[in-house]
Subunit: 237 residues, 4 copies
């Protein structure tokens, strides 16, 4: 693992400005909430980037220094420039980690790296509970997470989730309304890894939940491990 | 697929004799209930075998003619002779299908073929509902099964389930008490396939449920397909 | 399986017109050679489409009737219209099979469906032998193929091959010059399947080789199986 | 990773005593050659155990302190006590790593953990070259290993190799006589991992080859990583 793990948290950063309940929860944007949490951890330093920044904040200079990129998007997937999407996908194939949060299952970089539709059967913004069950309790990503951990208020997502079979299935969620979803999945892509983590969404205090933030922090460390020796300078295989 | 699929349904056949609620549900034994259902289907012929039979009813002659073996066990896993276990495992590696039902996750043939402990986290004989969610809605095993199909009364099983990552994950169950379980899984072993199917158990009318029986019937046909050309006479690779 | 399997063979169809050794081998184009072979098989009917056709010959009307699409490309991957690529990928996710031949590892539809770079380490158009080894001798795709089958003259490809781990690894090639390559791989994508088959290329009589054509014919039948019940009319999940 | 990785090298230790060419190469036994190499590495301490020792040298006390067990067997697989096999398998499921060398593909612990026959198609003790190709060049197990690394004299093994599809395929070998073999494979079993590494055998100086020993050393470190937090005291899941 690099002695310091460098994270970039990307957010479309729209609903925090236009949607009052979201603004109240995340007045500076979800990216800032997540980055602040990460910057308080040992050995992690986190910056941010947003849709409105030039090149969406994801210049070559930024990506080359990013060990793990965290992605949140919801309303504006289609506004992300295809050239930047290719740059991000290429960065992952060159060794960068990518953490995809909740509604970013439909983000261009994730869909690009999966090669499937990434659709789900149905969803419900019902604010009921979600429970996280550990398919693989020994995985570093769930270190410190108890089997059956409850997230009190959440949006429900339901299987089938049209993704390639994960290389590692780590977490499955159940929901108060009865559905299930593969909510913690890893895929290897070139020299990099993609971690999809489901809990959401923007109208609930998901990114203040200590268990959610523990998983994200663990994932940052795990996705960055081995990065030192294998990362390619030109971010291509 | 062979023009007629030959099934053998194996049952330890103990609780139906000693346990009144089980006897009432399955007076002739679960194996007979399952075999009767299969014998009513086009192109399937099913026989039975039990623990008390000589060689547990699983002689070389029987196994060589069996395209798919269905296994139910619960109380007497340890009474199954190791030589017969090796014969069954060898038959699977030679091309025979194996369907493992509910508590047979701890049966000797299944544990032998998995190489893991096959333990789960916890369970509860609570008689509450189970819902079956389709991870892969296109798989022939779930042909005709609706996403979210309800089994009204069931025993709950909870992840983690200590098995190798399935070659195909087809079904995940949610339970009224909140847990989840990978309840429809396929593993390739040599020339044969193993299908684990969770719903149970013996105190509920699981094997009268039309959806449960549809999955089992589909699985019999799918596990037998291709068997014609690939089955090895000496039931060994 | 549909009673008749409908195949469309796509070819960029360029080198057969400009490159004398290729023209000699495939005067009407590789697509016609392959389609002629398939049309001589029971229960298969094959049409063709090329880069120069309007919409590359891959209109919605054609794709909806295509059970399995075979793809050859080499020099003009970049000339394939992105809209058609999305239409093909969407067709696969909706249940159409896709067979990707040799240098089409770099075709837009394959790269799109994999999500990786699909690069290899090195290659050599040396005209030496290739041997096909069966990792899974029971797979219907290699029915009738002997372990170690020789293709006398071939272009060599070398691992690493930057693709996601296949859902099924069926064939690995060795080469006279010492390298290896995963030459028969299956990935599930939505309701469809992708089969990559390596042997090539255009300056050798690969598509007159009876073993190569047997694998392609087997793959057409296998990729089309189950298509009846699961294909979605709007070719989307 | 534990600050010091504790390795136990197990050897049936028979042919070094009875077979002159083997004795000459490995006068103290292959286990001692391997252990000496490992003890010269930073942060690794290696002990040995053999078939003739009480409990084959694999008492509970030894296994509990072993982060990674290395296994060599060839002639006397059947002489290994089934109780010790179960103890080793249970140790792996509890978090211990297991490295299985060459002819130990037929050892009882490996066959037990795989659930397949672990047979191969054919082999030839021909003393010709083997080349190691990297399917996954980014894996820590092949850190420092060049693609196409040559082992000058080796015994050839040929696919098909009847094992479950590996969770990670890292290395494939080609042989001078034309065959291929999946020669570096990882399977997850409970909390532990199994790494099969093919090069051999006892009549060649395999365990003096710097590349072979580099892979084994890398594997010791990688299989032990994460062991601190996840190892269960009672070596059971």
């Amino acid at each position: 693992m690099p002695s310091t793990v460098h994270i970039t948290v990307w957010n479309e950063f729209l609903q925090e400005k236009t949607d009052e309940p979201v603004r109240k929860l995340y007045p500076d944007g979800m990216h800032v909430t997540i980055a602040n949490h990460l910057n308080a951890q040992d050995g992690i330093t986190a910056g941010t980037a947003t849709l409105a920044d030039p090149e969406h904040g994801l210049t070559d200079e930024v990506l080359v220094k990013t060990d793990v990129l965290i992605w949140w998007g919801h309303r504006a997937h289609h506004e992300v420039n295809d050239e930047i999407v290719e740059r991000v996908a290429s960065g992952v194939r060159g060794g960068m980690g990518l953490i995809v949060l909740h509604s970013a299952h439909f983000s261009k970089p994730f869909v690009h790296l999966m090669g499937t539709s990434c659709r789900m059967d149905h969803w419900d913004e019902n604010g009921k509970w979600e429970k996280l069950w550990l398919n693989n309790p020994t995985h570093p990503i769930v270190e410190g997470i108890k089997n059956g951990t409850v997230i009190p208020e959440t949006e429900m997502y339901s299987e089938p989730f049209d993704v390639p079979q994960p290389d590692e299935l780590i977490l499955t969620s159940s929901f108060e309304s009865g559905e299930v979803f593969r909510s913690g999945c890893v895929w290897n892509r070139g020299k990099g890894k993609v971690f999809y983590f489901r809990p959401g969404h923007e109208t609930y205090p998901i990114f203040y939940d200590p268990n959610v933030m523990r998983v994200i922090t663990n994932a940052c460390r795990w996705l960055a491990s081995g990065d030192d020796q294998h990362r390619t300078p030109n971010i291509e295989l």
